[in-house]
Symmetry: C3
Subunit: 351 residues, 3 copies
């Protein structure tokens, strides 16, 4: 593809040579001759002068006048990152790491119902009455428990464990080491200080278009179901406790954890290492900033930060004061001294 | 079972129709006709008016007069949740996800000692001289290293890894993805900035009735043993470092981590995402609240919160002041101005 | 070995019987007759009087006069812990948990290139064109994806998953449950609130002498590579996002997480449960204390603490004030009252 062809594709404009041939895409700091790169995050501005890329996607508003003398070709487009991703997909072959068909070492009972075009890897084990939909790929070493269910066009990477009875939708992606349907953490204390295990009789359900990062754990419900709704995306090492419900298109970053029976709304953004207590509701479209601890229900559309979490603007104002606390403490000491001095002067000034 | 039979079982009392037949149990917000539910957590009070359950377990002190006109039958019992769990176990068949016997694909050396009535899943690998007690179930894809040891009536879910030499007691439950006996994190710095690995020659020991949640990691000791004593319960993704000792009946919620050589007492409650430094002692029956960071030893029976953690009552008082810090900072500015004004008035008032 | 032989080995000095025979090593609180132990951490001083060890390594400056009457033999050396480790390695046989050769149940395509002296466990699966270097050991149940690459003398414990195309160096250690090369967490929002997956086309690279703890997750790059440089050491359950670079000899404690595209310098120390945002740079030799949240780039050699993190000394001063906030708030109330009182007195004193 030439720089002009790329510009045309996105209704953009070339500043520089329109006939440069693009063969690969690369990050701005790693790009070389023949590479297309992009500029979207201001943190990377320093690389524009030094990049070895042949062309760079920039936003329509980008000022190329100061740099137009360089041999770097600018392609102005409405959204450089989205355009970059489109070109990325065109020029980079997407490898398919799943072999065709069913491997001879897979253990598959007669009771399994398998769709057409599926891939089942080596040493996979399916329990009784497992259903796997058409074109779904199950990586080496995965275990799908009795009566579990996977939809169509889903991808399960190696060494995933799905417990009995759990249901996984269409176009779902589970990364390696994920555990779906492990027992919820429920124990009733006995009078002697020991605990009685509460049976965990529900299931875990992942609706369509859910993606779950490596080594996440999603517990089954005590009764009923733990539920990740359509389009939920989990990063790595996320913990979802029993009976949690996560709403449509909510994204949860790495190492966050949600305690039992909490209901998370839709289009929520939960940043890394956030912890949420049990039995509360997280409002739709709310944002929970990194490492926040959420002790009670949150309102829709609001941003929270801190442990325990507060409204984000309030938390920022509090944090600003916290940073000046040593000086504030000195101010208070000084105020005490000044007041004492005034008191003395006042006493002296009295006849 | 009828509502009266349930009431009689727990020495309770029926308010409403004593002859309603109960077929299933369900959560209050999901229950339908024929279902028994329960009310214990005040957060769920709003559902009492709207639930479709046929009967509800409530505590003896619950006031049914305002709602008694409804078709919902109330069963008053001393502890609604415990009663609910008992009925749950009676009416719900508990599936056994482990097939009988030893699967043909399991790799079991002649040196293994296997008890009667055990279940060993497909593609399990036992090392040399492994001992598995009677009626223990080992899920598909598990690996038990050389000389490791599992007691009787234990349950190990699929894809668990137990390193060589580790010892697991009776009635222990290990969920999928658990790693027992990985090397402790020990390195001696060399003068050139690189690190020399400290050999990890000890083992990890789990006593009877321990339960370990999905994808937890429990390191082996450098020398001696990492030890989880009787009845310890771990939620998912918990990290236990080398040479840690956790006392009887201590419960540790998800994503908490305990650093090397720390000794945790018995009947301690460690909430989610708590971090504990190494080489300290956590007193018996102490409670560490969510996301707390514990920098030094704690006293028995006390409650801690914060990072770094403080006595819980003190932490609550501090948090209350933190929430008003922006106003306090303004107060200090106002005090400075008022004082300056007073000082000026005093100077003027002097002759 | 006798106490004198040990002293001679480290150019040390025996205080007590030089002819005591040492057969084992043990921790100070667990040591018995015939055992050598060591004293390095002041927290363990209380055990010196009560230990049953036969001999103890202490530093050259240790004052033995108060205790020299005991039967415990002191061996003074420059570094007791390093000396202890040396003796540990001498007297304790290091077990090799990896069987020789290639297990019959391993799935190995003809396209694999395997070095001499390797160990490949049961139910291992190698993809197409995998390269495994000489003397490397791959534990039971591991999966190495198409085109992945492991160097010489590396050790991969059971149930590790390495995705296609990833590269692992020489003398690398991967503990059980590790996932290398899972997709980075990248999604482009669509206008309807759903997300489009950004293809993750790069790889993950681990250079020589890297060690990765149990159940860590290291994502592949979007483009280019996620990179752990020579000698990086990760504890358990650490999360490394896409396109992160970690410099030489940096150590990262358990449950820490690093967000996408962040560049961590060399010889950095990252403590447990630290979270680092994306697209920043962590300076060489900086230290990030436990549970810190790092919102922006850090300077080389500095120590940081807090969430959000501050310079460590500053954070300690702030924390000291935080601990006294309830009293400071009272001081401010008292100041207000005193000032009002003074104002009144001043008004009265005026004619």
């Amino acid at each position: 593809m030439t720089t002009q062809e790329i510009a045309t594709l996105f209704k953009g404009e070339v500043v520089g040579d329109p006939n440069v041939e693009i063969r690969r895409v690369a990050k701005i700091e790693e790009a070389g001759t023949g590479d297309l790169t992009f500029f979207a995050n201001p943190k990377y501005e320093k690389y524009i002068a030094s990049t070895n890329a042949s062309a760079i996607l920039v936003s329509n508003g980008f000022d190329t006048t100061r740099t137009v003398a360089s041999r770097l070709v600018f392609i102005k487009v409405p959204d450089p990152y989205v355009a970059f991703l489109q070109i990325l997909k065109r020029v980079t072959p997407m490898p398919d790491p799943f072999p065709k068909g069913i491997h001879a070492t897979a253990v598959i009972p007669d009771s399994a119902k398998l769709g057409s075009g599926i891939s089942i890897g080596a040493h996979v084990v399916l329990g009784e009455n497992v259903v796997v939909g058409a074109n779904t790929k199950i990586g080496h070493g995965c275990v799908l428990g009795d009566g579990s269910n996977v939809g169509e066009n889903s991808v399960i990477y190696p060494n995933v464990s799905v417990y009995h009875g759990c249901k996984i939708g269409n176009r779902v992606i589970l990364h390696s080491g994920v555990v779906i349907g492990s027992d919820g953490f429920g124990f009733a204390p006995r009078s002697d200080g020991t605990y009685e295990k509460i049976p965990q009789l529900g299931i875990a359900v992942l609706e369509d278009d859910v993606e779950v990062g490596a080594n996440c754990t999603i517990d089954r419900a005590t009764i009923g179901q733990t539920l990740l709704k359509h389009g939920v995306k989990l990063d790595n090492l996320v913990h979802i406790a029993h009976n949690v419900v996560v709403g449509e298109n909510t994204v949860i970053a790495a190492q966050a954890g949600i305690s039992g029976s909490t209901k998370v709304g839709k289009n929520v953004v939960i940043a890394g290492q956030v912890g949420i207590v049990g039995h509360i509701e997280i409002g739709d479209r709310s944002v929970l900033m990194a490492q926040s601890g959420i002790p009670k229900s949150t309102e829709p559309g609001k941003i929270y930060f801190g442990s325990p979490a507060k409204d984000h603007h309030r938390a920022m104002r509090i944090e600003a004061v916290i940073r000046s606390l040593p000086e504030l403490a000195k101010d208070i000491e000084q105020l005490k001294r000044s007041l004492e001095e005034l008191r003395n002067r006042l006493s002296e000034s009295k006849p």
